[in-house]
């Protein structure tokens, strides 16, 4: 992640557009990420809301697994529904930069719809998005895979996709 501070800052601007830079400030002997919001003093990241720390950990997690895989449980936790499409785009951008495949779980329809909205438009780069819905069939758990067209149709038809 060395030298990628701007990338992390840009990702966090999805939630906090005032964020100008990030810095590590040691408080009581503990390093804490702070952000410059242009308010005259650095603000600790946790004080900017749960969504900021959530997105920070997602992006840093991706950055720390180059050419690898990142597993995210309940990806929407701590994130307001209105920022979810932008968060998905930030995740996609980080995944592209670090060549990472992201597996994210969710029970949230809003989160799925947001992912579809985010990936159904041109991101400026190739993004291979699939939704795998787990279903119990005859006692076995099977994955039903939605490509972009299947997910679009299912959402437009108002069908359950979880």
């Amino acid at each position: 992640m060395i030298g990628k501070q701007d990338m992390v800052r840009d990702a966090l601007r999805v939630i906090e557009p005032r964020l100008q830079r990030l810095a590590v400030v040691v408080q009581a002997g503990m390093p804490v990420i702070h952000g410059d919001l242009g308010v005259g003093t650095m603000v600790a990241l946790p004080l900017m809301g749960e969504g900021m720390t959530r997105l920070f950990s997602l992006v840093v997690g991706i950055g720390n697994a180059p050419d690898g895989v990142v597993l995210v449980d309940e990806v929407e936790n701590g994130l307001h529904h209105s920022v979810l499409p932008k968060v998905w785009r930030a995740i996609a951008e980080a995944a592209r930069q670090f060549e990472v495949q992201v597996f994210a779980t969710t029970h949230s329809l809003e989160c799925i719809e947001a992912a579809h909205r985010a990936f159904d438009e041109d991101l400026g780069f190739e993004c291979d998005f699939r939704l795998h819905r787990l279903e119990r069939v005859n006692g076995d758990i099977v994955a039903k895979t939605y490509d972009r067209d299947a997910l679009r149709a299912a959402l437009e038809m108002g069908l359950e996709v979880r």
């Binding site: 329809l109 149709a153 299912a154 437009e156 038809m157 359950e160 996709v161």
Partner: protein, 209 residues
């Protein structure tokens, strides 16, 4: 947030829009059939895309019978071919002709409206069914009057005629799908549709009727 529907029945009818959903829902209620589910693909989604999305939807693996309903529009044969193409792309059984069930499970039957041999749509079938209603001559007279007055007719005459007919009912102003309870389900025009629905349910193979 409203609960999204899942496939809950072993037999499903895939229809185009909310009017078809209302009409076939009303027919099923008239026939006392509660174990056939009507699934509209909606106005924006084509049948091909709708099937693509349906195939991975919750409950689809339990479906044993599928009825596909589609308007003939200008060309009933082309409409049938289009349905067959969509079925084939999803690896579903492809019937040889409308109303001929094929394969299974899921068994697939296709109904082209108003029939497999003439152009038109759901509204044309419904107009056939209400042709003996006392209000029907008034509907025809209304459009004749418009013509005589030099008023350009509506683009979709069948839909307009159906709307005018429905305007003659006690609760006027409803769309066809909402006013389907006014349709005379025992009219001969609905014979084929009734047999189709019962075939999809699995009671009586339609090719033996």
């Amino acid at each position: 947030m409203a609960k999204r529907p899942v496939i809950e029945q072993h037999s499903i009818l895939i229809v185009e829009g909310v009017d078809e959903q209302g009409v076939f829902g009303a027919l099923l209620r008239h026939l006392g059939i509660s174990d056939v589910q009507v699934v509209p693909t909606g106005g924006k989604t084509s049948l091909a895309d709708g099937l693509h999305g349906l195939k991975v939807s919750p409950g689809f693996d339990s479906v044993t019978a599928i009825g596909v309903v589609r308007d003939a529009d200008a060309d009933p044969e082309a409409a049938f071919r289009s349905v067959c193409g969509a079925l084939s792309r999803e690896g579903l059984p492809v019937p040889a002709a409308p109303l001929v069930p094929h394969g299974g499970p899921p068994k697939v039957t296709v109904l082209i409206l108003p029939s497999g041999t003439r152009p038109g749509a759901l509204e044309d079938l419904c107009l056939d069914a209400v042709a003996d209603d006392p209000a029907f001559p008034c509907v025809s007279a209304y459009f004749a009057c418009l013509h005589d007055a030099g008023v350009d007719g509506p683009h979709n005459l069948s839909r307009a005629r159906m709307q005018v007919f429905l305007a003659s009912r006690q609760q006027a102003g409803k769309r066809l799908g909402e006013a389907a309870s006014y349709l005379p389900w025992n009219a001969p025009a609905f014979d084929e549709v009734r047999r189709f629905v019962q075939s999809v349910r699995g009671h009586s193979p339609i090719n033996q009727i």
